[in-house]
Amino acid sequence: MRFALLLCLVAIASYASANAPLAAQQAAVQGIITNADTGEPLEGASVVLEVAGEQVRSTLADRNGFYQIGNIAPGPYTLRARYLGYAELVESLLLEAGEGLTRSIRLQPDPLLLEGVTVRPRTGAVRRELARQRITPGNIRLVPVPAASRDLAAYLQTLPGVVTTGDRGGQMFIRGGTHTENLALMDGLLIYQPFHILGFFSAFPEELISSVDFYAGGYGARYSGRTSSVLDVRMRDGNRNEYAGTGSVSPFVAEAVLEGPMWPGRMSFLASARRSLLEETSPTILGETQPLAFESQFAKLTLFGAGDSRCSAMFMHTDDRGRLDSEDPVSRVSWENLAFGGRCVDALEGTHRLVDVTFGFSRVRNAAVTRGASEFFADTRRQQLKVSTTDLFRGVPYEFGAFVHLDEWRNDVAELFSRQVQIWPESRWEAGSYVETELRFGDRIRVLPGAVLVLSSKVGVEPRVRASWQPLGRDTEELSASLGLYRQGMAGISDTRDAGSVFVAWSRVPEGGWTSALHAILGWQQSLSPTFSWSFEGYLKRIHDVPVPIWQTTAQFNTDLALANGRVYGADLRLEYNGPRLYGFVGYGYGWTQYEAAQDLFSLWFGEPVQRYHPPHDRRHQINAVASLDVGGFTVGTRWQLGSGLPFTRPIGFDEWFDFRDRLDDVHLRHGTTRVILDKPYQGRLPLIHRLDLSVNRTFQLPFGNMEIQAGAINLYDQTNIFFYDVYTHRRVDQLPFAPYASLRLEAT
């Protein structure tokens, strides 16, 4: 009933908006700009309206390739659409009063325009637009990974403020948030655990990505349900005109991608399969077996309609399994993502609106056995529907949307100690709507206020605002700021008492509440020359009601939760050189995260009910350096990383415990329960880590396409970096040692 009511509200809002009159008999023009060959939307393509050769208005296409110019005086105009590497399109328009003209544009790629020019993406690591960092496959290619196909995961790890606990486990912590507070979307569908157990890889290889919007915080009203960051990945469409395929293999992973038209010009497919090989090859290249394996499959069908509207059907499946501690023969972990759904984007003819509808199903299954003592299983699924529209209201652009999703979860946790099996299938629905508009004050100031209304067991409003100021009136210098409130009703329960535990069970935030975070971000970015730019960004967060595990002294997964509040602050400094043959990026991140938790145990344990501690992902200092050099037909890529030690809880020692609460334990007949006597939470720090990865690759042209050969090594100087310290078994587990590799990639076009 509530769902139906919500849909009605969405429909009414859409209808009202569709029929809103243009301001004072003004005209408007909008449409979608795409690659004429592939149908890919061209985000960032510029559209200029001219009268008698004079520019009167301009705009850039958004992530859907949608452009929109309103409040135009009626009359004849010349429209110019440009995008780097594409032939310019010039068209004459006659705009009539009150008209909202839809004019979609297909730009033809023109390789001649790129001859002799090394095109590096304008969307570098320094540049952020209103808290958004746009990542393209060109960016991703800069970071070496032990595979022919680069990966989004490796690129993200080079960004300041992005913390991983090691090269295994698939967890990413962003600016003090936990890995379960990140929102990962694949064409709008939620992917619960997008990163593979081998930390170089994710569900998003370079081959499949169109572009990525990454927000380390301060994101707009379009996104809700997570409190830390957003990773919005748009998968590319298959080629609608020609068949193509790639295949690659390295000691770490093998991959195949196939694409082509199903209905030439109208419908395409893209299919991919990837499988890790490290489990089989590690005895040779590492000298020991690394029991880590993953595989993934992806498929996308896209139907291109009139006016470059499109509908897509997506499917993704990932399966990760292994043992993070290769010397522990019993403990193992696995997780499996499944997501499928559809998305339609259409610039409605006769209106001045783009409608974007996404629906689908997402699921993650987690399983773990730890220390031979406990078996955990968690199954979480979401059904979701989201409708959004980009429109003009009296010439002012805005985005309005509504969403509803149903979360269901079932967690089975068998505890050795308690001799209980806990099964609690539960569900939770959440609906809401959002609106965000863009206000321009002259050519220099943009302000994007917005808000999210969330309906669940209670009602919440999340106001947000983003703003930028270009003091010199050009985009080479920009001051930007973001402020917003974010809430999250589903909590990922992860036993963070030692970093090696990657099992996640999802449940509602205790006490029917929300985890909330207030983000405040202020940044400056500047291009000092066409090749050199830098940026600085500071951030501050206040976090409330983060579920954290109850502390205890035995090695058991703990589903009892307490709520913590947190304070986070930090800063990023980024330097980027983007020359014709050399690319270099250095990022330094400083972060400070502190939780304050009140637990009953703390009073008994430490004499104080409240403890303040730095959680295990609080990496204080982090440096990443990435370089890519084109020389003699070869491309040399390097990445060096350094991270200060992560917090861990120091053990005082081990003993056995006997129970005298309601019985007299026989101390000579029973061995007792082994427990660790712990110091206060997270008072220790692991050693710092640093590592150098290197790759050299060259591409050869063959009659059927291209062949790329790559050789490289991870951890080139074989640094012994700690992965985690298991406080319950007093064992240190290290990250991967020096590992050479070679890869081959064949591309048939």
Partner: protein, 455 residues
């Protein structure tokens, strides 16, 4: 030239810092936590066990010597009590782990004196020590059990009452347990039963159920509610032919010389904290001083009382008397199990009232015509035909009768009980017991109008 090499020094510093392997010592030893000491000095036990282990740096235990001196002494007299040192091994499969485990146990068979205080100290070779003081409670002369007169529920056989203790000592815990079993190793899991699955109850029969006692650390609290529930139910017992049929239940009372520091309301994480319940100085663990007393949890019924607030009182001490015996078939002496034995005060010869005493095991019943206030005791024979009734007052005449249930027939219908002797006459003339007397009666049932099941 010089300025062009400005970077060399910091570069070398960085390289040297990064090039060195960093020492990583996660353990943070503490001088305040040296040894783990667990056990209890039980004045009612014949052997005392104290487990002593060093606080160690890893999960593994070893067979190595403790490298410390251990001393148990009487605090008032200073007399040292010799302890034997034994290394106990717990094979990996026993502790459900991948490692064999070991524990150092110190033990003695010397008598522990009620009311005395003992000092236990473990001293390391460098002089650092962990110590604990354990005070043993005074013994108690009498324990009074009051059986509730609330009618039992047919579907959940149970008996309730209260336990009254002398006010001189502290109560650590109370358990209701099957006679002859130990209070420890309580396990509530059905699946842990070593007996084969029983279709009637959908799983293996539970061996026994031990209800956690009501823990009282308040010296002024002297009244403890007790209850027993019998599982499996009689029908399940019969259907599954369980080798264990608990007819007799005990109330196990643990008295402590010092306030019991372990709160039964603690969750597991709370209880596992190093300081939770610990009385060890410079260490972890617990060494208590206790006395364990066990009294039977028997049936008692006072004619005329029926409200839940009314009780039939039984006192157990060295002065209370006992009647026990074996019920057998005539001629061949085969034991008669599942029979009900009734014992009542026979100070009132007049028949004034008819009251049916009925218990659930075997559904045996007897009808007495006695005035209000007469105390009736019942017991049930076990597989050997044995019965026992304790807590009897000396100087009071008691009469006895038995009721033997007929064996079940294929239709599942039971006949009315066979009674011995016929009618409502007692087995023999009323018996008067002396203080502390244990009267043995071997009874042969007499065949009556209904088949007894005897061959």
């Amino acid at each position: 030239m010089k300025s062009s090499r400005w970077y060399v020094t910091p570069l070398l510093a960085v390289v040297s810092v990064l090039g060195c392997e960093q020492a990583f010592q996660p353990i943070q030893p503490s001088d305040d936590v040296l040894f783990s000491i667990y056990g209890y000095l039980d004045a009612s036990a014949d052997t005392q066990w104290i487990r002593v282990m060093p606080i160690r740096e890893g999960v593994e235990t070893s067979t190595a010597s403790l490298e410390a001196s251990v001393r148990l002494e009487h605090a008032e007299t200073g007399r040292a009590i010799p302890l034997s040192d034994s290394l106990f091994a717990f094979p990996a499969e026993y502790v459900d782990d991948s490692l064999d485990r070991y524990a150092r146990i110190f033990w003695t068979t010397e008598t522990i004196e009620p009311g005395a205080t003992y000092q236990f100290t473990v001293t390391r070779s460098d002089g650092a020590s962990s110590s604990v003081t354990a005070r043993v409670p005074e013994d108690v002369e009498e324990i009074v059990v009051q059986i509730s007169q609330a009618p039992m529920l047919a579907t959940t056989p149970s008996s309730n009452g209260v336990l009254r203790l002398p006010t001189s000592e502290r109560l650590a815990m109370v358990h209701v347990i099957p006679s002859g079993s130990r209070m420890v190793n309580v396990n509530h899991r059905w699946t842990d039963s070593p007996y084969p699955p029983c279709p009637a109850i959908g799983g293996p029969p539970m061996v026994y159920q031990s209800l956690p006692g009501m823990n009282s650390t308040d010296v002024s609290e002297r009244v403890v509610n007790i209850a027993r529930q019998m599982f499996p139910s009689p029908s399940n017992e019969i259907a599954c032919d369980s080798p264990f049929r608990f007819r007799w239940w005990d109330i196990s009372v643990v008295l402590t010389g010092s306030p019991w520091p372990h709160d039964p309301g603690w969750s597991d994480p709370e209880a596992l904290l190093p300081d939770a319940g610990s009385n060890v100085t410079n260490g972890t663990g617990f060494l208590g001083g206790i006395i364990t007393r066990t009294v039977p949890f028997e049936t008692c019924y006072v004619i005329g009382l029926s409200r839940s607030s009314e009780y039939c009182e039984l006192a157990y001490s060295d002065r209370s008397a006992t009647i026990e015996g074996i019920l057998t078939c005539p001629d061949d002496g085969v034991p008669v199990p599942n029979a009900s034995v009734f014992l009542w005060e026979d100070e009132h010869p007049d028949v004034l009232q008819a009251t049916t005493i009925r218990d659930y095991i075997g559904a045996a019943s007897i009808t007495l015509r006695k005035p209000d206030g007469v105390k009736v005791r019942t017991a049930f024979t076990d597989s050997r035909g044995s019965f026992r009734i304790r807590g009897l007052e000396a100087g009071v005449p008691y009469a006895l009768a038995v009721a033997v249930p007929a064996p079940p027939i294929s239709s599942g219908i039971r006949y009315p009980n066979f009674r011995y002797p016929n009618g409502y006459e007692p087995y023999e003339n009323p018996t008067v017991l002396e203080e502390g007397q244990v009267l043995s009666l071997d009874i042969e049932v007499v065949e009556g109008v209904i088949e007894t099941g005897c061959p």
